[in-house]
Symmetry: C3
Subunit: 263 residues, 3 copies
């Protein structure tokens, strides 16, 4: 039997809104560690990894490891019916082919049960090794989101270049070119607005803006986003989920960067 009670139910609502466009169907895995998901996007280019640690739930009962296949669009439809202050409980009986989402209003006046059919989904869990990155940028998530959106109105790809001075986002398209530089800025009294750069060596990588824009749908989860870059590795775009976990997006850089910019 599975019963996971999340007092801050809005976190789960935001998680679904963050990934439902990228991933259509996916297995949610429940274990003693927590409630997690790992899935490729539908075009098999980007990878999403989600973890909500068991300690973050008010009540966490998971008698045995369980993998539940869900259509994320349908799951998002149901979670959208939860109020922003509702407590959400995820329930499943052993061997059942359904999962139940229970929404309780803060004053307990309104209680809703939404039952959803589960799906069989083939998936393989990729091991993602811990890596050293050439540069790690931590910046306001709203700023990163704004930059990706702005550059999309000019071009299709973004070159992210990190130097000691700051991080530069560049693009080019039919109507012209754009460069946006964010300087390092350690705002002590407003840490959520700071931009902090940890750099081993300068790095410059090219990515498809379409995916970056998808990733920024997770911005409501966290004031800050962390972007980890290395020449040989997929970029990791990470949003922390309160103190209970994270959502991480992985995307391989584009090669033949010059070719790309001409296209």
């Amino acid at each position: 039997m599975l019963e996971l009670r999340l007092v801050q139910g809005s976190l789960l609502k935001k998680v679904l809104e963050a990934i439902k466009e990228l991933v259509t169907d996916a297995n949610f895995d429940c274990s003693g560690t927590g409630f997690s998901l790992q899935a490729m996007d539908s075009s098999h280019v980007a990878l999403v990894a989600l973890l909500l640690r068991s300690e973050g739930f008010e009540h966490y009962r998971c008698d045995r490891n369980l993998s539940m296949g869900m259509n994320l669009g349908n799951m998002a439809k149901m979670l959208r019916c939860a109020g922003n202050d509702d407590i959400i409980t995820i329930k499943a009986d052993d061997g059942s082919d359904t999962v139940t989402f229970m929404f309780e209003s803060p004053n307990q006046d309104k209680i809703a049960d939404f039952e959803m059919k589960l799906m069989d989904i083939d998936s393989e869990h990729l091991g993602i090794p811990d890596s050293e990155y050439q540069a790690i940028v931590r910046m306001p998530s709203s700023e990163f989101s704004r930059i990706c959106k702005d550059l999309s109105s000019i071009g299709d790809t973004v070159i992210i270049s990190v130097t000691k001075e700051g991080v530069k986002f560049s693009t080019a398209g039919d109507i012209g070119t754009a460069n946006i530089v964010c300087r390092q800025n350690n705002t002590v009294d407003k840490p959520e607005q700071s931009t902090i750069i940890e750099m081993q060596e300068p790095v410059s990588l090219t990515f498809a803006l379409r995916y970056m824009n998808s990733f920024t749908k997770a911005s409501p989860l966290s004031d800050q986003v962390t972007i980890s870059l290395s020449s040989e590795l997929p970029v990791v775009v990470e949003y922390e989920i309160g103190e209970m976990g994270y959502i991480r997006f992985y995307l391989a850089p584009k090669i033949e960067e010059d070719e790309e910019m001409k296209a």
Copy 2:
């Protein structure tokens, strides 16, 4: 001659927004009692009854009973041109084939006259007998609106079941099922947020969500909605209009409930 001056003109704006989707053309009836309307929706399934009592108008002159056929879409277009704080006066000369809506801004700086052509509409006035209902639910109109909208994302019909404990709204569809229970809750200090159930006997009836969602367009008129249910009668969904009247929607329950839920 007809001259009806309504200081709180926004009420008339809200009335039109509430019914213009359901009813295309209708006769407004003016008499010594008040300004009223009774009309079937265009698919002849639901009935709307509106009453604005003469006492609610600052000035109410109606020399003889008058029935004015109007296209509600066009009337709504004109009323949308009134400011929310405007005083609205409805004027018609005897024998004229037009009606005039006059909008006065609160400081009298701006005065608008909108003249609309009247239509000949065949209609028969149904006598609606006062009935005893098995259960009457009074609840926040925003809550009822939210529930109908949420359930529409899952299914096409709603089963409304009333017991002593509360009122349950249920639906089922391809992606799963949903049950939302609202408990009785007599909030003395915030009466507009209370949910009060008067029950003679338990009742459970099925309705098309499409119509329920249409009815909830009247929510801006009142903080509370009253839902009157009996097995043998159409449900009545009523919104009070200040202290001057009401708008009531009537809808027959669906029979062969089990059949419906399978479809």
Copy 3:
């Protein structure tokens, strides 16, 4: 070399939003006087004239008179990437076929350069003589915008009639007619809400509402709009841009007014 630094960059953003729908491509002219534009709309019916005086810029360097052809849609796309509090600098090198817009965030943490290709555009500069007008109406820009929008839901043209008492906006269409009268109103303590009429003689002219609605896109630039009317001249609809300039729209009145109203 050209370098124009505008501390209140949002003004330039608003200017582009005001004219980009009306004008597709246009030459911006830079001289010692200021940064200006004069262009016909794409159907050659309305004329737009913009002036931002050099004194309004924090820094204004323009070594020689320069005419820069720009696609206003693309320019608006780039300016939309500037924050509302950003300082905007327009830069162009002599003989270059590009212009650069630089956006600096108020705290200098984020600096963006957008480079846009220039176009060759044939244009002739019309001399617009100063004229005496029969009537000049100065009124809240939001009010004028609301009136044009409201009348558009009834008809296609507006008759603007000025008398000593006030200004009347009228239209007619299939569903009826509308007249909106704004009275003169010199609100001393809230000058931005006043309606002031300077009248030499009564005047009544007909205009296409489609263009009037386009002009009102400039409303965010100024609390007040000035409408100058004469029987023999195009109407001038003017919005001041802070203390540094203006945007003026010119539109010829419709002749055979009765014919038009029948159509």
